[in-house]
Amino acid sequence: MKDSTKTSIVMYALAVVFLVLAGAFLSRGWGQTPALQPIPLVDSEFLKTATVRTSYAELVSSKADLSDFDCYGCHEKGKPPILRFDEKHNLIVPEEHKDIVMGHGRNNRNNLCTNCHDENNLELFQTRDGRELKFSESTELCGSCHGPTYRDWAAGAHGRTSGYWNREMGPITRKDCVSCHNPHSPKFPGRQPAPPPHTLRPLNKPAHEGEREGEHEGEHEGKHD
């Protein structure tokens, strides 16, 4: 076979290969990246800026139903309610107040209602140093025992602040203690976390995932007291 014929055959073969490749690239016959699973939008519940509770002051300003705070709708004036305790000295919460879960203080020991409520006027609070405070002044009441936390709160370092960091440009909203803490059971409640990040790699579940399952139910101890 002549050299020139060989060259021609190679040239034609190369041309065909290139044309096939070009056709394949243009029609995207391969190399298509697999489509990723679409990621669902996050539940807008997680985007809400509301605190976990509503304080009395906020209820008043939003003109909500305040019948829960009308003590003398049921109680009799001038007749302090009688508190009953079980043999372990835990408060027996009366049927009418069964929505109240007592969990204040170390080992839930701050369970004497009159530590905060004034037994002679149930619509007032009393501090241990003898001050009388309205429901709307509950922050002062909390501060009468939790001094360092109150100091931090007053400085803006404890609790949620909203609005403007620059006081000249707009108001700052400082939430009351009871906007986040249930006064009868102040430990901040656990909550469902927002969805984790969707990584491109398969999720690396930690090896001890299974062991943790049973522990979710119990309250997280010793962190937020």
């Binding site: 070009a22 995207r28 803006g156 602040t161 909550r191």
Partner: protein, 327 residues
């Protein structure tokens, strides 16, 4: 290169046909014609195949965007034109008329962030509030904040869990450490940028000009906090989730192939407001303010609290992001 044989072959086609298929003594033989046209065709096809990826590019920059000047060199009038262009583009792409501004840093303000590790419960609300505020891509997902679940008694981030998803947080035996851009005083990401598309502003925020970024991802590699994100695909944001309050340097929609990162919600904080992550935190873990104001809450925290870490402070990046504990 392919032009030369093509001209020749075209010129030679005529005479060849006229000659009724007989080889033209003055022109080219049938064989050499076929060979030349095969080479030409192959070259053309290879060129087309090489350019094929261009078919995937959907949003070519407009001439106006292409000719746009560097952020720091633009006059206010030129910036007004650019803001108008961005508003039009966003309206065309997302069907919502935004309000794009170019807020400048305030005098006597240096932003600092404080995060209380005692309080964080790891609920990730900050992550998603940030995404909503800053028009990040939802799918593929871009998030500026990563909440790390850490073992109690250790700050070993190698052992941190990123994708914890129990029914309820916080979990026993763990604490949570959200990490985002630390707005370093000595930012490694700024040093490596070959085109000066990212820089530190006088109020301490390291920003990116998305129209100047070439997407080389050097900054992503340089950042020790894994705070920078790259838009591998065109961001997808549903129309009803667009935040129309935008700023040139912060939350205007990005294009494919540029970097982005936390900018302390510049569009909010330069207007005096708190960042979105501060506003949404249910536990008051996150604190933000002006460190140059002695009465701000961040000044109070740095003065009175046990400020435990600047993350990876041994690297000398000097973050403006402080982690502290309540004692």
């Amino acid at each position: 290169m392919t032009d030369q044989p093509s001209n020749e072959s075209r010129r030679d086609v005529g005479p060849e046909r006229e000659a009724g298929g007989e080889p033209n003594p003055e022109g080219m033989s049938r064989r050499s014609f076929l060979r030349t046209s095969a080479v030409f065709g192959t070259g053309l096809a290879a060129l087309a195949a090489g350019l094929a990826p261009l078919l995937d590019v959907k949003n070519f920059p407009s001439l106006q965007q292409f000719m746009q000047k560097y952020y720091k060199e633009m006059t206010p009038e030129e910036m007004a034109v650019v803001l108008k262009r961005i508003e039009n583009e966003v309206e065309r792409q997302y069907g919502i008329r935004p309000h794009v501004r170019d807020l400048k840093p305030m005098d006597g303000v240096e932003f600092v962030y404080c995060l209380n590790l005692t309080r964080c419960i790891g609920c990730r609300k900050c992550v998603h509030a940030c995404v909503a505020e800053n028009n990040q891509s939802r799918s593929p997902e871009i998030q500026y904040i990563r909440v790390l679940q850490m073992e109690n008694g250790s700050l070993d981030m190698e052992k941190a869990v990123h994708d914890y998803d129990p029914a309820k947080v916080p979990e026993k035996g763990h604490f949570y450490m959200p990490v985002q851009c630390q707005q370093c005083k000595n930012p490694p990401c700024v040093k490596v940028c070959p085109v000066h598309a990212t820089w530190q502003e006088p109020d301490g925020i390291t920003v990116i000009d998305y129209d100047w970024c070439i997407g080389c991802r050097y900054c992503e590699a340089a950042c020790p906090y894994w705070a920078r994100r790259f838009n591998f695909a065109k961001p997808s944001i549903p129309k009803d989730r667009i935040n129309p309050e935008m700023d040139y340097l912060s939350n205007r929609p990005r294009s494919q192939g540029v970097m982005e990162k936390c900018h302390f919600c510049l569009q909010r904080t330069r207007a005096g407001r708190y960042p979105a992550c501060v506003e949404v935190c249910p536990t008051g873990t996150r604190k933000f303010g002006n460190i140059l104001d002695p009465n701000s809450e961040v000044s109070y925290i740095l003065k009175t609290k046990k400020v435990f870490i600047q993350l990876k402070e041994e690297l000398g990046t000097s973050p403006r992001f402080f982690y502290y504990f309540d004692v």
